[in-house]
């Protein structure tokens, strides 16, 4: 008999079930990809704040491109890197909507640099989920601006050489310099404790928007097991041991 056919006997109450704002569509991420955790946490935040009916999500170009299939709220698919500009257009057109973008590090930190910096500097009242997995996942593992020194990728076969390609770009530290943003934080999900912290951060980032506090960005340091060619469990260790050296966790800017 299949373990999955477990019936719930009387006397049990649910502790955790799939968030209401998620559809029944399976995620298209690879097994053990952290994207799935963030996607779930965003849905949990939307549920917790009860904003599903006024939320508009912005799907990036990247492994999260299918995002609109997973959510039960309005969605738009943005051109690669332009999510913050699209978000600006939506929010300015209809300030009652809760607008969030969900972007990878190639999307936000490379091609989308200008749109991100200026949306942040204008203090656009939007929420940005920034998935830093140090790689271009969807296209097959090319270097991202966040790729670690010496890390092998499809476009750095000998490992990233900082002399020719520079050091990992710390976008959050850079944005924290600006007057515009109200909340910039870096989180991770390599263990349950950090999942819970990341969850809180995402909720705060949405709350800020509801309260009209302006630009909030949650960077989440992630692993891409498929392209690093390690197991999902090793992926958690990779984040904890390798990535945090360059991307320390914590709040970089909190304006209240």
């Amino acid at each position: 008999m299949s373990v999955t056919e477990v019936k719930v006997p009387a006397g049990y109450v649910p502790v955790y079930t799939k968030p209401k704002s998620l559809s029944d569509a399976r995620f298209t991420y690879c097994p053990g990809c952290h994207h799935g955790i963030f996607t779930r946490l965003v849905a949990e935040a939307i549920d917790e704040l009860g904003i599903q009916e006024r939320t508009v999500g912005i799907a990036p170009v990247g492994c999260a491109v299918f995002l609109s299939d997973f959510f039960r709220c309005d969605f738009v698919q943005a051109a690669h890197g332009r999510a913050c500009a699209v978000a600006t257009g939506i929010k300015r057109a209809n300030p009652d909507l809760i607008v969030f973008s969900y972007q990878g590090d190639g999307d936000l930190a490379a091609i989308g640099t200008a749109e991100t910096v200026h949306a942040a500097n204008r203090g656009e009242n939007i929420t940005v989920i920034f998935v830093n997995n140090q790689i271009y996942g969807m296209t097959g593992g090319e270097m991202a601006p966040t790729t670690l020194p010496g890390m092998r990728t499809v476009t750095t076969p000998e490992g990233r050489d900082v002399r020719t390609t520079g050091y990992p770009l710390r976008v959050s530290e850079m944005l924290a310099q600006l007057d515009g943003p109200s909340y910039i934080t870096r989180q991770a999900v390599f263990d349950v404790r950090h999942v819970q912290m990341a969850r809180k951060a995402i909720i705060k980032a949405f709350k800020n928007q509801i309260e009209g506090k302006g630009f909030s960005l949650v960077e989440i340091v992630a692993a891409c097991p498929t392209n690093i060619r390690i197991s999902p469990v090793e992926g958690n260790r990779w984040v904890a041991e390798q990535t945090l050296k360059y991307f320390p966790l914590g709040d970089l800017k909190v304006r209240d």
Binding site: T28, C30, P31, C63, M138, T226
Partner: protein, 182 residues
């Protein structure tokens, strides 16, 4: 002469490699050849397939409406490609994973327990070579030796010399299975 072979299965089953080895073998034997993979994210997790065309004049279309031979390594691809096989063609079907066993009067289906055989050989990942071995027999235009040589070259290029021996066994087993199959 122009023959099309389609390999299809799950992402991780080594579908593209099997096709590439066949293409290389044909090239070494002086045939004109093309190898066309399905590509992009849909491969990840999902399904993969590739088309190999072998001909004695330059290959026009690398896509094939109705292949001579189909190697189907899982259920979905068996169901999807069986209808397209050319009348009189052959199908190498992986009985380990294909549950709904359709047939076609005008097509010869060889049921091979590719995963079991691979398990027996102690290397689950070589099920694709079992399928390829059987396909070589069904195709009947290339000597198995040429395919083995091509396999060695491909694995060598990937630094997987260690796996050469077990994959050779798998090719033999597949070839034999198709020969004895009634």
């Amino acid at each position: 002469m122009e023959t099309g072979v389609i390999f299809a299965g799950f992402g991780g089953q080594g579908i593209l490699l099997a096709g590439k080895i066949l293409a290389r073998a044909a090239m070494e034997k002086g045939f004109e050849v093309t190898w066309l993979p399905s590509y992009g994210p849909e491969m990840r997790g999902g399904t993969a397939n590739c088309t190999v065309v072998i001909a004695d004049e330059p290959v026009g279309s690398p896509i094939v409406g109705s292949p001579q031979v189909l190697v189907a390594m899982n259920g979905p691809s068996f169901a999807r490609f069986l209808p397209r096989v050319a009348p009189g063609g052959a199908v190498i079907a992986n009985s380990s994973l294909i549950l709904e066993r359709q047939e076609r009067p005008d097509v010869r289906v060889v049921w091979a327990p590719m995963n079991e055989i691979a398990q027996e050989l102690g290397e689950p990942r070589c099920a694709n070579m079992v399928g390829l071995g059987a396909a070589v027999k069904a195709l009947g235009i290339l000597p198995l030796a040429a395919v083995i040589a091509a396999m060695e070259e491909e694995l060598g290029a990937r630094g997987r010399e260690k796996l050469v021996e077990v994959n050779r066994q798998a090719l033999y087993r597949g070839f034999a299975w198709a020969t004895e199959a009634r």
